[in-house]
Structures are given as C-alpha cells and as structure tokens.
C-alpha cells in the first residue's frame, strides 16, 4: 500500500520505511517555534528537565509577535524572559521588535523551514508551513519544552483526508475563500486528528500566499496538519530563501485516504464566516446589511504582500466609511518595506486607514484594535470565536482581503463589485 506525503515525512523522521495511521512514533524535528505567549511556559518547563543546552541553537525560533511592541508591563516581562533565555542558551533565531514579524509568515520567508521538514510550534497555526510540502503542527508549551531538550517529539500518525480542487476561480475568490468554504462544508471538527492534503489543478495555479492561507486554517477544521505538494511555484519561493537543504516528498498514487472530497471552485463566491465559528460560512452575496465598526487586514492568514496589493486595488481612490476603523498590518518588516516601495501605504493612508508595525495584536483581542461591547468587525484573520477580538458581546466576521477592504468602504459587509 502506498503512503501519503504526511506518512512519508513522518516515516523518514522516525527512521522507518513506512508508518500507518494510528501508530504512535517518535520523530526527529528539523525546527521548532515559540512566541511571547507560549514560550514563557516552555522555558519554565525546559528548566525542569535539567539539561544544560538546547538540542540545536539554530533550529529554535523565539518570535515575540503577539503582544509586541510590548503592550504593557506584563507583556514586556514575558518577552524579557524569552530574550534572556535566548541569550543564555545562544538561540540564534530570536527576533527583536523592528526585526520581528508574524511568526507563520516570518519563518517561511526567512527560509528557516523548508520542504520535507518536520516542524512543531507552540502555536496552533504552525500548520501554515505545510504549504511548502513539509509536516508542521501546533503543540503546547510543555511539548515545546521537551522538544527543545530532546530534538524530538511523539506524534500519532494521522489519517489523511484528500481535498481535490478543480475549475477556474471566480473574481475576488482566493485561497481564503477555498478554505472557508471547505471548513463550512466539513465543520470545525470535520478533520479532527487528521491530515488535510490540498491538491488539484486549482491549487497548482495558486500563488504561495494563498497556499499558506489554506494550510494555516487546517486547525480550524480540527486538522493536525495541512499539506500541499511541492511544484515550481514552491521551489521558486524556496530557492532564494532556504537556509538549509530541502527534500521533496509526494504521495503515492495508491496511498490510502480516509476520504477524498472534490470541490468545483467555479461554484464558489467570496466567503464570509459569521460569528462565532469559522464553519458558519456564507457567500458574501448572502451577507447583506451587516454594518461594521472595524475592518482588520493582516495576521498569519492574510498579511502578505499579495494580500496588501489586493486590499490596495480595492481601496485606491476611495475612502473608508466615516463610521469604520480600518487597520492594516503587514506581516513582516520585509513585507512592510515592499508595500511602502510599491506605494501601497499612500493608498491606505489616503483612504483613511491605520497601518501598524507587524503584530498579531487584534487577531486574538490582544491589542492594536480590540472591540468594545456590541461592536462588529470584519477581519482577514482566522478565528471568530466568542470574544475573540475583544468584548464578549462583540462579533467577528472572517473574509479575504478584498471583501474586508470593500466592507471598510461600504460600512457594511459587501463585495468590491458593489463599489463600481
């Protein structure tokens, strides 16, 4: 019986010829990650293990991106613990404010994770990197602590659900809409304990930004990892960035899948996920007359240069609705600079938007755009749970950057088509 790409990567990292779904294996890790919320606990637990060094100083990233630049004294204290730990153990990939970016955009862009890798991160959206044909999954702080000491972790080999996307994308439809539509179809536990393998002709035409967005939200369907195959688009992205050699794995044609789900993308309109779960998706045409107070464009889902270009194409020559706050957050310093060079910031600022330094802030109701009681936001982020962006009686609607930008202008949820 053939193996899926996820099985092959796990087998290779467990020194085995093959692995079967349900099997518990110990895998060697190529890279691992913690942020300013999860790393402080990991550091405390790491010190309980009683080792005098980390497994590899160059294969750990500590990314203070959630409450940074430090929003208050407690947040500053958490980053201080990370900084001191990085210095004490010689960890090279600690990213200070001014050099930091949103972790799941920063790590692939810095070439720290490469095809064929096995990666864990103490952040649920670590599954993002699967777009590069690698295995990556989110864990908690204690798992990260043990992994920093051992360079390995245990995993249960997941069953794989294969998603085959075919057909031509409609206007304003991208990776965010494909994944929201998919989660709407299977539910927030539709891929519980499973690997989500995204394939099909539509994927092969998607730019990397859209592929990262899709794998990012595998966790929103309960998935262990999202994964795609390596093609020319992947290699074009990886080659100038990779800090290590990479290896390409692919699923066998006779690999066993738990389920194969085929999706004709020509039937998909831009999607909006209604409160309070990412599975509550509707086509934007059915989201009429929902007034908004805030729009957020950014996060590890949609803060890439491609996303900002789409937002700028909608906002150019237009003004944000007087009752709306539009917050735009480029995910890394590199993206920030590129957006500045391309003149995107002029468009944003002339439209009446605020542009922020890289941070995860508003996505998790941390800072830089929390909602008050009764307020509504449309956001390109990945979660719309109760109280996610602030007050327990606020609401978050999820969308792609074009819909978020158009909604900021309209003052209600709507499509760029309505602006003409």
């Amino acid at each position: 019986m053939g193996q899926t790409i996820t099985q092959k990567i796990l087998a290779a990292h467990a020194d085995k010829d093959q692995v079967e779904p349900g099997e518990l294996v110990t895998i060697k890790l190529d890279f691992m990650l913690g942020n300013d919320i999860t790393a402080p606990i990991a550091i405390r637990e790491f010190k309980q293990i009683g080792v005098d060094c980390v497994f590899d100083k160059e294969r750990i990233a500590l990314v203070p991106d959630h409450y940074t630049p430090a929003k208050d004294m407690k947040a500053a204290q958490q980053v201080k613990e990370m900084r001191e730990f990085a210095h004490e153990y010689g960890i090279t990939n600690f990213f200070e404010v001014g050099r930091v970016g949103v972790e799941h955009t920063l790590l692939p862009d810095e070439g720290l994770v490469v095809p064929g890798d096995a990666v864990i991160g103490a952040d649920s959206h670590t599954c993002t990197y699967g777009a590069l044909g690698l295995f990556s999954t989110g864990v908690g702080s204690t798992d990260l602590a043990a992994a920093m000491a051992l360079g390995e972790t245990w995993v249960r080999v997941p069953e794989t659900i294969k998603f085959v996307y075919y057909g031509k994308l409609n206007k304003w439809v991208g990776g965010k809409d494909l994944i929201l539509y998919t989660i709407g179809k299977i539910g927030v536990d539709g891929a519980l304990y499973c690997s989500m393998e995204f394939t099909g002709e539509t994927i092969s035409f998607l730019p990397m930004a859209d592929r990262f967005t899709m794998c990012n939200m595998a966790i929103e369907a309960g998935g262990k990892n999202g994964i795609m195959h390596v093609d020319d688009t992947t290699l074009e992205y990886v080659k100038p960035r990779a800090k290590r050699p990479w290896k390409v794995y692919a699923s066998d044609s006779d690999a066993l899948y738990k389920e194969i789900i085929e999706i004709d993308v020509s039937e998909i309109e831009p999607q909006v996920a209604f409160p309070h779960l990412p599975e509550n998706t509707r086509p934007v045409s059915q989201a009429s007359d929902i007034r908004i107070d805030q729009a957020v464009i950014g996060s590890c889902t949609n803060g890439r240069i491609e996303d900002l270009r789409i937002a700028a194409s909608v906002l150019k020559g237009r003004r944000v609705h007087p009752d709306v706050r539009l917050i735009i957050i480029p995910a890394t310093q590199e993206i920030w600079q590129q957006a500045m060079r391309e003149g995107l910031f002029d468009i944003f600022i002339e439209a009446g938007a605020a542009v922020s330094t890289p941070t995860c802030g508003p996505c998790l109701g941390g800072h830089m755009g929390c909602l008050a009681e009764g307020e509504r936001a449309i956001a390109t982020t990945n979660r719309n749970f109760v109280g996610r962006m602030g007050h327990v009686k606020s609401e978050v609607y999820l969308s792609n950057p074009a819909i978020a930008a158009a909604s900021a202008v309209l003052g209600r949820i709507g499509s760029p088509e309505e602006l003409n």
């Binding site: 405390r44 637990e45 947040a75 864990v139 908690g140 519980l192 929390c370 749970f385 109760v386």
Partner: protein, 169 residues
C-alpha cells in the same frame, strides 16, 4: 486516581478562547488564570466550582489555540477531570502533558446532566453517575499515553529520555 464531584456541563466546540480569553495571557500564573476560567462562556463558573468537580462536554472540547493556559486554568480552578465526546487534538496533548485527566466517552456525556454527582476512576476509565446510578466505560488511553501518565507527565518522561539518549551517545 478516583475523583468525585459535581458536573458542569457544556456543549460542542468549547474553544480555548472562552476557557481562558487572550486578554489574560500576559501571565502564566495558574491561580491568576484560574480566576478567569470559562469567563466568556459561563461567568459564574469560578464562583460555583468546587475542588473535585468535573467538566462534561459534547464534541471537540478545547478547539482553537495551542495555549496550554487553557488546561492549566481548568486544573487550577479545582476541576479534577474533563469528560467529552471528543477533544481537539492540541488540547488533548496539553492535558496529558500538564497532568489534567481527560476521558473520551460519548455514552457518559449523553447520560450525565449538569449538577449530577459523578465518580471517575481515571486509571480504568470507569465513570459512575452517582445521581442516576448509571455506569459508563471510557475509551482506554493509547499505551504511550499510559506510559506518560505513569512517568508523571511529559517533563519527567523527558528527563528520563535525556538520560537514555546520553547513555547511547
């Protein structure tokens, strides 16, 4: 271990944001986190919860963030054990790693109501609803998880593993 307590019952998809909202994640102190446990779904939970109490929930408990603060807050609030039909996978790992007993048992979830008194033997997975005198059997843990529990959690296990790896080198 045998636990006995009153049941706090919840529905499906109880996410980590409602278990412990992000606004409190500027600390990892268990007592501070426990003071806000379940705040956004059940504001009275912290006033009502007694040591030994049990959380019972439907599908996909603990979905969302990887924040270990969620099982830490539940454990520090006095909850002895969580029974659900299914758990989100990161929450499942985190619970074992920090020593919060969790059991998957759909039949028990259907057969237990809020306020019932329940006894749980975590080593065998036996669940008894003392209010209705009905007994249920949770799915056994995978063998590796049992080893983790016996070792006292992931950190003691890692300590032993470090020693073993050093011997081999």
């Amino acid at each position: 271990m045998i636990f006995r307590g009153k049941v706090h019952k919840y529905g499906s998809n109880v996410d980590t944001d409602v278990i412990i909202p992000a606004r409190y994640l500027v600390t990892s102190d268990p007592a501070e986190l426990a003071a806000h446990c379940m705040e956004d779904i059940d504001p009275d939970f912290v006033k009502r919860v007694q040591p030994g109490d049990i959380i019972v929930a439907e599908e996909n408990f603990g979905c969302g963030s990887s924040r270990e603060h969620a099982p830490i807050a539940i454990k520090a609030s006095g909850i002895s054990c969580v029974i659900a039909k299914t758990f989100a996978r990161i929450f499942y790992r985190n619970s074992f790693n920090i020593g919060l007993p969790i059991l998957e048992c759909p039949e028990a979830v259907d057969g237990i109501s809020a306020g019932d008194e329940v006894e749980v033997e975590t080593s065998t997975g036996k669940i008894v609803n003392l209010t209705t005198c009905k007994a249920f059997q949770a799915r056994p843990f995978p063998e590796f998880i049992q080893q983790l529990i016996l070792a006292g959690g992931l950190i003691p296990y890692a300590r032993e593993r470090v020693k073993a790896l050093k011997k081999c080198r």
